[in-house]
């Protein structure tokens, strides 16, 4: 059924974002995060980006200090899920301009908004980066229109 959950974890194993697309009790969620992070963090760079987890598969990729993970069913197309992750990263990168981990920490709410424009119900909603950025920009304008400003003083280098 497409993606069951998306998870962003730092190299130290800190969770930066989680998004669940299938119903799962909190305990199981916590367990899945723990188990999956442990395995992914222990893998070497040259190894493949897939691993089997229970009757599901984890597709993951590391970008600088962050690991992006997606959990999918066995019959899903692994490589395209990998590119869905990359698609997300590219959109984040365009949006923040050279995105880094701190952008996602201080603007976690933006990251969630963007993800909602990319994936819902565990399925890709929009394959065009342009279309996504257009919608996100419109949302930001709406936010600012009601007395809000985009956080821009939070750029740090890691």
């Amino acid at each position: 059924m497409g993606i069951h959950f998306v998870l962003l974890i730092s190299r130290q194993g800190k969770v930066r974002l989680t998004k669940w697309y299938s119903a799962m009790p909190s305990k199981e969620r916590a367990r899945a995060v723990r188990e999956v992070s442990a395995v992914v963090l222990s893998r070497q760079q040259k190894q493949c980006n897939f691993l089997e987890y229970k009757d599901k598969k984890i597709i993951y990729k590391r970008y600088a200090s962050l690991y992006f993970l997606a959990c999918v069913d066995e019959e899903d197309n692994e490589l395209i899920v990998l590119e869905t992750i990359h698609h997300f990263v590219e959109v984040l990168d365009r949006y923040f301009g050279n995105v880094c981990e701190l952008d996602l920490i201080f603007n976690f709410h933006k990251a969630y908004h963007i993800l909602d424009e990319l994936l819902i119900a565990g399925e890709l909603q929009e394959p065009s980066k342009k279309a996504i950025l257009r919608v996100t920009a419109a949302q930001d304008a709406l936010m600012e229109g009601s007395g809000d400003s985009k956080v821009s003083d939070s750029k740090y280098e890691i």
Partner: protein, 982 residues
């Protein structure tokens, strides 16, 4: 938002967890006080605090306030506030949450508003949270948005995926006759975003049932032509130069849900697209481009495999796969192995081509990456057949020595299965398994050695002698044998030690001496087994009787209960008065009934395990025919067990695999003597402690009374006869799609046999039997049509409160034939809705699916609770607040006692208590639910019901109280549906 940024920085600057906790506590207290004191809080502050709460929640802190603020934000008029409210819902709420009821109306208001932004927020949140409530309340509005022609594209694509989410929750939201045309019409849409989302929705529907949606295939093919051949798309949708790979893949998947196309134009179209993808894909330097092209390529290969011999591209695909498995790029190697395994399963005729790559595949077993090793092992396993088994197994045995523990257990199971399934001679199989037991020790699951014992027992004396010699040699060679090796040796020598007793060096006393050398350091379970061995040898060879009796004496006061009990029983058994019985008890074990290999079962159950490292097994072992020729012959009829010896439900619970014979596990010694009482009179065979769960005996048991329930194949007799007759007439198609309870299901609430489903092709009958918290159920599948049903399979929806063991089901059902599948059920906790069964098969008109609720409603585990008014109301009070009421119009008023007796006592196994309610028009009913480990008739197990009748109005109020809300609901529903006017 400055306050939020400062707060996040503060937390990041904390040097210790304690400091962070302090800071969080301070902030929570602050926000809490703001929320309670400042009733006129402005939107900005409310937003800021909610974001802070969400951040703390993300860090793992419990948050138990702020709900109302978030709900207020959600219904705000300002977009910025509304969107924060929705973000809160997305993170904090999940289906089933009480709070959902509170917000469902606000969501609906947004959903039908004219503001597209609000509509999108509402759609996102329905998608994120899902849930039954949403599906029931909102699905019409969502579908309206999806199909209405004024909907904007960016709303429409969200609506499509929201509809998908709701459909997954309740499959009856999109009946084909009503929706197929309208939704498939959207596949002609130009906008690729909408097309992608709608294709996802269609795929979701096809995964459940493709009937009525056939028009999806030509449309998918047309769009593929447009993208792949005609290059007709907007440049926004090029991803690294590839036209929207996501959509291409989804369309290729749509085609895999239908049988190979027959219509010429469609066939041609699909073949052109495949040809272009398969021959036009090249390896490029850019990683992302490479991934995207290969993602499409692998999906095209999957489609070619699905089309099989009718696909012209299949040979090319095979070549490509051969190349992929030796490529450097790990992802492609992984997928190459994975896809090859699929190919070998679905298109066995390609096996010879695949075998050319055997050495590369075996080499992949040594890959440094565990993911790849697993795929390679799966593939080796899938490709093995009679011709290659010796080579494969010897490679795997080699590999076993160096394999890491993560994979070893699975490897052992697979070696055991292959060597059994494809062995040309059984002595080779014995060699392999003994080698496994010897060298893999801890990783050898018990099932592996149970199985060899079964096979050796069922074969002639030659193999028995061979096995005895084998264990004897190995046991002599090992200084510190693994306990499993001692167990096999003990068992085999106990049964067949006599076959080598004449050979020099292995006389009975030498056998016992050698075994006893390992006795002292052995675990209690091994010791218990060895006592069996000794007493069996001593029974045949009087010269060791003295020696054995000393051992028994020594251990008649052993610390371990099992060892002590066996020793004591064997001492008593040697009393002269029991001489005749002794002979029966210690006779050789009878043949085992041939059933599904317990080793295969172990492998299957392993893949469902909780261990994160546990392998997933997706390939099935191949070649059933080869299995049959290698399997031991069925036991001679004279040895067949009588059903009553197999024990009722109570004494053979769903234990995964009791050890064969009297060997091994606790309690079997007791069985040995217990069985004696049963069989002693007629001098029957010793109690055959059957080596599988006993599920298979269902037929025997039920057939005894019901007139030949065993479907003996062919015959073409009336299907209903086999069910014992008397089933209610079933309107065709009634139970399909798993909607509300079907009449068949309702009838089965009251009785334990009948028809669950019936249409023109298939009839599903049920027989059930329950005892306490355990039950057995058999489903009988009857093919009423002209064509064989292929790929017949059943899947149960999860029901965590029930442990269900399912027996295998042959995959082909011939016309006019009947097959059965057995289920062993254990109730572990109170529950409301039992599982559903999905039956899928390939019939004369293509793939089909039936979903029906199994008649495993909670009352099957009920027993009457006969008690007085005082106790009833004491229990009633205990469940204060856990009441469920149904008010309905009665079929007949006043409510007659026989009717209540029929439904509540006869059907639901509860007790109708008289004199508890002074009003004689009313009824008080009590039962208790048996769950595993629960005390009988305990307070918590009670299920209590009061039926209050207003005879004048013809109305009845049923109030049910029980520990579990779902349980109370289910009981109330059953009562209502049987007493209420239709």
């Amino acid at each position: 938002m400055r306050g939020l940024t400062v707060f996040i920085s503060d937390l990041r600057n904390c040097s210790s967890k304690e400091q962070e906790e302090k800071r969080v506590e301070k902030e929570m207290a602050h926000i809490r006080s703001k929320f309670t004191s400042d009733s006129n809080m402005n939107g900005y502050n409310r937003k800021k605090y909610v974001w802070k709460i969400l951040y703390m929640y993300m860090l793992g802190y419990e948050v138990d306030f702020g709900h109302m603020e978030a709900v207020n934000l959600l219904s705000s008029q300002k977009y910025s506030e509304k969107s924060v409210g929705y973000a809160w819902c997305a993170l904090m709420l999940r289906e089933g949450d009480e709070l959902l009821r509170l917000i469902i109306n606000s969501i609906r208001v947004d959903l039908i508003s004219r503001n597209d932004n609000a509509v999108c927020l509402a759609l996102n949140s329905i998608c994120n949270v899902g849930g039954k409530e949403f599906a029931e309340t909102l699905s019409n509005d969502v579908l309206k948005l999806l199909t209405h022609n004024i909907t904007k594209t960016y709303v429409r694509k969200k609506a499509a995926l929201t509809a998908l989410r709701l459909f997954r929750k309740s499959n009856d939201t999109l009946p084909a006759e009503q929706w197929a045309d309208r939704i498939l019409a959207l596949l002609d849409e130009k906008n690729i975003g909408v097309l992608t989302s709608v294709t996802s929705l269609v795929l979701g529907v096809l995964a459940v049932d493709s009937a009525g949606w056939e028009a999806a295939a030509p449309k998918a093919a047309r769009t593929l032509t447009r993208l792949v051949l005609n290059k007709d798309y907007s440049n926004d949708y090029l991803y690294y130069g590839i036209p929207t790979p996501w959509l291409q893949i989804k369309l290729l998947k749509v085609l895999q849900h239908f049988p190979p196309p027959e219509e010429h134009a469609l066939k041609l179209r699909v073949s052109e697209v495949l040809q272009r993808i398969v021959s036009g894909t090249e390896v490029t330097k850019n990683v992302n481009k490479n991934n995207a092209t290969h993602a499409v390529l692998f999906e095209a290969i999957n489609l070619s495999i699905h089309l099989g011999q009718s696909s012209e591209t299949l040979p090319q695909c095979i070549n490509l796969l051969g190349r992929f498995i030796s490529i450097r790029e790990a992802n492609i190697r992984y997928l190459g192995l994975d896809t090859m395994a699929r190919l070998s399963q679905e298109q066995p005729h390609t096996l010879d081509d695949l075998k050319k790559h055997q050495s590369t595949i075996l080499f992949s077993l040594k890959d440094p990456d565990i993911s790849i090793r697993r795929r390679a092992l799966d593939l080796v396993y899938a490709m093995c057949d009679t011709a290659t088994v010796k080579e494969t197994v010897s490679e795997l045995l080699n590999y076993l020595d160096n394999a890491d523990d993560h994979i070893k257990e699975e490897l052992v199971l697979k070696i055991a299965i292959l060597s059994e399934r494809f062995a040309s001679d059984n002595s080779w199989y014995v060699d392999v398994v003994l080698q496994l037991v010897r060298s893999a020790g801890d990783q050898v699951a018990d099932e592996v050695w149970y199985r060899i014992v079964q096979i050796v027992t069922n074969q002639g004396e030659d193999l028995q002698r061979y096995a005895a010699q084998g264990v004897w040699t190995i046991l002599n060679a090992e200084v510190l044998p693994h306990k499993n090796l001692v167990k096999v040796a003990g068992y085999v020598l106990g049964e067949f030690g006599h076959t080598i007793a004449e050979s020099p060096g292995s006389s009975p006393s030498e056998q016992i001496t050698l075994l006893h050398k390992h006795f002292r350091n052995a675990d209690p379970d091994v010791r218990a087994l060895l006592l069996n061995t000794y007493v069996k040898i001593a029974h045949t060879y009087a010269e060791v009787a003295q020696m054995v009796s000393e051992v028994m004496q020594q251990h008649s006061a052993a610390m371990d209960q099992e060892v002590q009990q066996r020793a004591a029983e064997y001492i008593s058994l040697s009393a002269p008065s029991l001489a005749s019985i002794k002979g029966t008890v210690l006779e050789m074990m009878p043949h085992f009934t041939e059933r599904e290999s317990i080793v295969s079962k172990a492998l299957a159950s392993k893949s469902k395990g909780d261990d994160p490292e546990a392998p997933t097994r997706r390939v099935e072992p191949r070649a059933e025919a080869a299995h049959a020729e290698a399997a031991p012959p069925p036991p001679p009829p004279s040895r067949q067990e009588t059903p009553d010896l197999l024990g009722g439900l109570a004494d053979e619970p769903a234990a995964p695999a009791p050890p064969p014979g009297g060997g091994g596990g606790a309690g079997s010694a007791a069985d040995l003597l217990g069985g004696l009482d049963l069989g002693g009179g007629g001098g029957a065979a010793p109690p055959p402690a059957a080596p599988s769960s006993g599920a298979d005996d269902l037929l025997g048991l039920m057939g005894g009374g019901g007139g030949g329930a065993a479907p003996s194949g062919g015959g073409g007799g009336d299907l209903l006869d086999a069910l014992g007759g008397g089933a209610p007439a079933a309107p065709a198609g009634g139970a399909a799609a798993g909607g509300g309870p079907s009449p068949q299901w309702l009838a089965l609430c009251m009785r334990n046999d009948g028809v669950l489903f019936e249409d023109a092709t298939l009839q599903i009958g049920v027989k059930m039997e329950f005892n306490g918290h355990q039950g057995r159920m058999a489903l009988f599948f009857g093919n009423k049509g002209q064509f064989p049903l292929q790929q017949l399979a059943t899947v149960l929806s999860p029901c965590p409160q029930l442990a269900i063991q399912v027996s295998p089901l042959p995959s082909t059902l011939q016309p006019r034939q009947q097959l059965s599948q057995n289920f062993l059920i254990e109730c572990n906790a109170p529950f409301g809705d039992g599982p559903q069964v999905k039956v899928s098969f390939m019939g004369g008109s293509g793939p089909a699916q039936i979903v029906a609720r199994l008649p495993l409603n909670p009352s099957k585990f009920f027993a009457p609770l006969v008690t007085d008014g005082g106790d009833f109301f004491r229990r009633w009070k205990l469940f204060e607040g856990k009441e469920l009421q149904k008010i309905f119009k009665l079929k007949t008023a006043p409510l007659a006692e026989p009717e209540v007796e029929r439904v509540c006592a006869g059907g639901m196994k509860m007790a109708v208590l008289r004199g508890v309610d002074p009003n004689t028009a009313n009824y008080v009913v009590a039962g208790w639910m048996a769950v595993k480990g629960g005390a009988p008739q305990s307070d918590t197990a009670s299920v209590l019901m009061r039926l209050e009748v207003n005879a004048a109005a013809g109305m009845c109020r049923a109030s049910v109280r029980a520990s579990d809300a779902g349980l109370a609901t289910a009981v109330a529903q059953i009562v209502q549906s049987h007493l209420a006017a239709p």
